[in-house]
Symmetry: C2
DNA sequence: GCATCCTAAGATAACGTTATCTCAAGGATA
DNA sequence: TATCCTTGAGATAACGTTATCTTAGGATGC
């Protein structure tokens, strides 16, 4: 039986037993306890039993910090994403893949804030994580250069980092926009508008650019059809006003990301939403319950997350391998909103 | 200028400089570097400059693991929730509150799996986190008793843990169900059915019990109106069949959690959903865009998350304080689906 | 019967920090 | 001029592990 070890004086946290305490209790050397803890087979039956008894009696738990300090590796990778605690299938895939590789995941939210992102990344480096996956927010990541040189594996997800060269996994934005455009065009639409995120953001830039290219490829004029910028109710309202009430009004919309899609749906209201064809970029929660159900171009988020971990592990195993960028294709998911005729 | 320190042989991770290296580079003692790193004011200008230069030249970053080992505290708290990477406002609040308290958050998904939960919690104990918040899944948490006795602060969220006595913050489930029932009753409904999660789960038990109590309080019979169990499409379909096609069919529904609400909406389809009054327990994403918009009893998730961190910090500061359970009230959010008349 | 080899287990030195002493130099005080 | 603080800075011992040696003791080989 273990001695009662609670309440070592008010307000003070009781000390936990260490390997030394276990060794003393068991009457063996420190090294022997270490062997038992690490399942080293070269321990005799007698000592094995004594040590196990002592561990149970003292409720000993090895201190992971000391272990990691000594070992050099932490068995933990970091993920700096925009928001944990929001629907984030990439992060779910990262967590799942990491776990099945025996890696612990430390996830943190950059909250769309460049300074916060930097704090988190530096902190992860100080914690000597085995590697970092980042969904980059900031425009310049040059400050990571020393870390890369010091051998910290870093993989960027969803968009590349500027100022440094690191592995990257991202969706084929241009093809995705092309698919959305083509789908609406096939359903008879000729005036198709695009509303999307700011072009200061990499993905916003890529998608708007691809949309303009689609318009040009199909020989349509660009006038008043492409609206980009911060997503706010006012901006979306203004964009819709311009697009839908022009001399030649748009009959279909492509929305550049989930946030935009939701904002547009809110703005349109129930009546209008059933008259204008919409294809959203990115999956939207409960998209199938909306009226009409929402047609989207969906990123292969599971594959993106999985690939991010795989790229990271590859670099952890082989720090000097060539930098790689993986581009993942998207899928058109047909549900109704994109099939309304012009 | 720093010497090129990349590529120390293929496949091997280059060693990072340590405090000793910085001391040598700067020509001062190890202790002086430590003072500089920790902003100790008792360092002369000359040495301060030399050390700062050396730190920059070598790209030195303190090793957090060693620091924590020496200090005894990690400045990190753990959160074992059902799913990170899903909408989880409690977790968002925890992260926010932790950050503004200067604490790092380590979040992990138990994935509704008891064994996984146990793994995570034990791992967090081994990492000697400063405290743990857990949204309990398993039925017995007795294995945490030694950890509690060893001074590990643990707070449970959303439901209590059985087998041990720990601080807890949770919603006032009974009042919430009462509010939903009362609201529907006020709108003329007399046959009100409940569909909810398994009663093996604490919250499922509490909510179903409260619903039965409401029926009794209003003098209504319970026959065929209360349906609990694992949430699957078949089960929900069967429950709806029983409730809606009885001799005295239900005209209104209370759904016991978000998952159930969504399953019920999917099952009802668009036409039926606009004829049957529904009040959901828990907020649902895009609830305002549904048709009719969804009336819900919403938990004060932000307050729950914040309170969890506060309880944890209180126990970290004062390990021997009395165990506390905080019950948080809910809010009825009226949007349409709950105001359909009988 | 003695050298050799294997096995179990112990001493002890890292890992990279911070904390406790100690000490030297210099200015103030009697 | 001798003594006492004050201030800056260096040795060195933790923190709790794992890894490298070393050693004692019995089994094996010739």
């Amino acid at each position: 039986m273990s001695p009662a070890r609670s309440g070592t004086g008010a307000g003070t946290r009781p000390k936990r037993p260490t390997m030394v305490d276990v060794a003393r209790e068991a009457g063996v050397a420190l090294r022997t306890v270490s062997r038992v803890v690490n399942n080293d087979p070269t321990v005799g039956e007698k000592n094995l039993a004594k040590v196990q008894a002592a561990i149970a009696a003292l409720n000993y738990r090895p201190d992971e910090r000391a272990r990691q300090l000594r070992l050099g590796v932490t068995g933990t990778i970091g993920a700096a994403v925009r928001r944990i605690a929001e629907v984030n299938p990439e992060l779910a895939a990262i967590e799942h893949t990491a776990r099945s590789s025996g890696l612990t995941l430390l996830a943190a939210s950059t909250d769309f804030d460049e300074a916060r992102e930097r704090e988190i990344l530096i902190s992860m480096c100080r914690q000597r994580l085995d590697g970092i996956i980042v969904e980059p927010i900031g425009e310049s990541h040059g400050y990571l250069q020393p870390e890369l040189e010091a051998g910290m594996p870093v993989v960027s997800m969803d968009r590349p980092m500027s100022g440094i060269s690191a592995d990257c996994v991202m969706s084929d934005n241009a093809s995705g926009i092309g698919m959305a455009f083509h789908h609406l065009h096939q359903h008879g639409h000729r005036r198709i508008a695009y509303i999307g995120d700011s072009e200061r953001v990499f993905s916003g830039r890529e998608r708007a650019g691809a949309f303009r290219a689609s318009l040009r490829a199909y020989g349509e004029p660009l006038d008043g059809l492409v609206h980009t910028g911060e997503i706010t109710a006012q901006r979306v309202a203004a964009a819709l006003e311009t697009a839908l009430h022009a001399a030649q009004p748009a009959t279909a919309l492509v929305t550049g990301n989930m946030e935009t899609t939701i904002a547009v749906l809110r703005q349109l209201g129930r009546d209008q939403a059933s008259r204008i064809a919409i294809v959203g970029f990115d999956e939207v929660p409960l998209a199938d319950l909306l009226q009409p159900a929402l047609t989207v171009v969906a990123q292969d988020t599971a594959r993106i997350g999985r690939t991010a971990v795989e790229l990271l592990r590859a670099r952890m195993a082989e720090p000097d391998r060539a930098v790689e960028t993986v581009v993942v294709p998207l899928d058109l998911i047909v549900r109704g909103s994109g099939e309304l005729r012009a």
